[in-house]
Chain length 217, copies 2
């Protein structure tokens, strides 16, 4: 639960599907740590059963513009974004995040994990692809007690994976998500305001524009 | 790299196989945090290229005798150990650990990850089984840049997985590991001394006894 457009919509989706939701955020050394305030606002507004924030330091490895002294790219076209894997990619981030979710799920005896990744209007991250999620799910079902005992089958849900950003904006509004509470920018200013020029801001703007909706942020 | 018998032997094995070794330990809220001192001693003695310790809090989820207010079982027979998954199992621990190793490996552009798990004389942990490691390797190769680009293939090595504890003791001695530096106990006293009665102590004692070697610890 990053507090962005996608994870906030994913949370609302899981709630509407009837799940009791335990939200998990990560304080991992990200440049845009202000997103955690958005995550807390959105989780509170959604009425989750619990919201935890795991503190872990992915800066210790570096290798990304989000966790290291590397500039966040600005003003790129969508074509440029979908070429090479961008420097905002954080090595193994979703693997680490899903591993923590798996740990909590096992303790909660939960059999469903939702993640708001998107493989259509995305930034070319390897760990947002369906084939990655399928492989993670297979691994997760062997990693835990329930996998050994065959009691439950852990399912990784990625309801946004094949939606466009415009679709996600429309779905968020249909689900009643207050998008004013969300934060998407990779490189906010000291006051937490979005830069409007990083890949994340540009993809969000494109989504709102195509959906014909004004972004309250 | 926990600083126990298995991870210390695994490290020496990787060095002898010609690898430059980057050791990774975890300060995860474990009851036997003193093992990190052993990890530092062993890594130093082995002459690793780097040794990092990732700080993360698996106590936030609990659910294990190693990270929660649950008593560590004492005086169990090996038959008792190999029945149910014991309460010392930490939910998704090896998945979390290997995910961090994957993150560092990607930044280092390393293609080989070694883990000292053992599925023969072990405590029945689901995430020590070969099928788990195979599934993790498949997932890891889809999770990262190199997987997308097909440049290198990440390999998870578990050289101890099918060895008995006695075999591991013999291998450690053959590889010149100073076993006096290691720590295996789940429930040491305030001075860091092994209890001699937890599963980890008993499996270690069994290994030394069967190898006909006196444990310097």
């Amino acid at each position: 639960m990053s507090g962005g457009l996608d994870s906030s919509t994913c949370l609302a989706f899981a709630k509407r599907a009837g799940f009791e939701v335990y939200a998990l955020s990560f304080d991992y050394g990200q440049r845009h740590r202000v997103e955690l305030e958005a995550a807390a606002r959105v989780a509170r507004a959604a009425g989750v059963a619990d919201h935890k924030t795991a503190k872990l330091d992915l800066r210790m490895f570096g290798g990304s513009a989000l966790t290291d002294q590397i500039a966040v790219p600005k003003g790129r076209s969508v074509a440029e974004m979908s070429g090479e894997i961008p420097v905002t990619y954080v090595p193994a981030r979703n693997t680490v995040f899903l591993s923590f979710a798996l740990a909590w799920a096992e303790v909660l005896e939960a059999s469903d994990v939702f993640i708001g990744v998107n493989a259509l209007d995305y930034s070319g991250y390897p760990d947002c692809r369906p084939e990655f999620l399928e492989a993670f799910e297979k691994m997760a079902n062997l990693a835990t007690k329930t996998g050994v005992q065959g009691r439950t089958h852990l399912k990784i849900h990625a309801p946004l994976i094949d939606r466009s950003k415009a679709d996600i904006v429309r779905l968020a509004l249909e689900l009643g998500v207050d998008l004013a509470l969300t934060h998407s920018c990779y490189d906010p200013d000291a006051g937490g305001r979005a830069c409007g020029e990083c890949d994340s801001c540009l993809l969000r703007a494109k989504g709102f524009a195509e959906a014909g909706v004004v972004d309250p942020v």
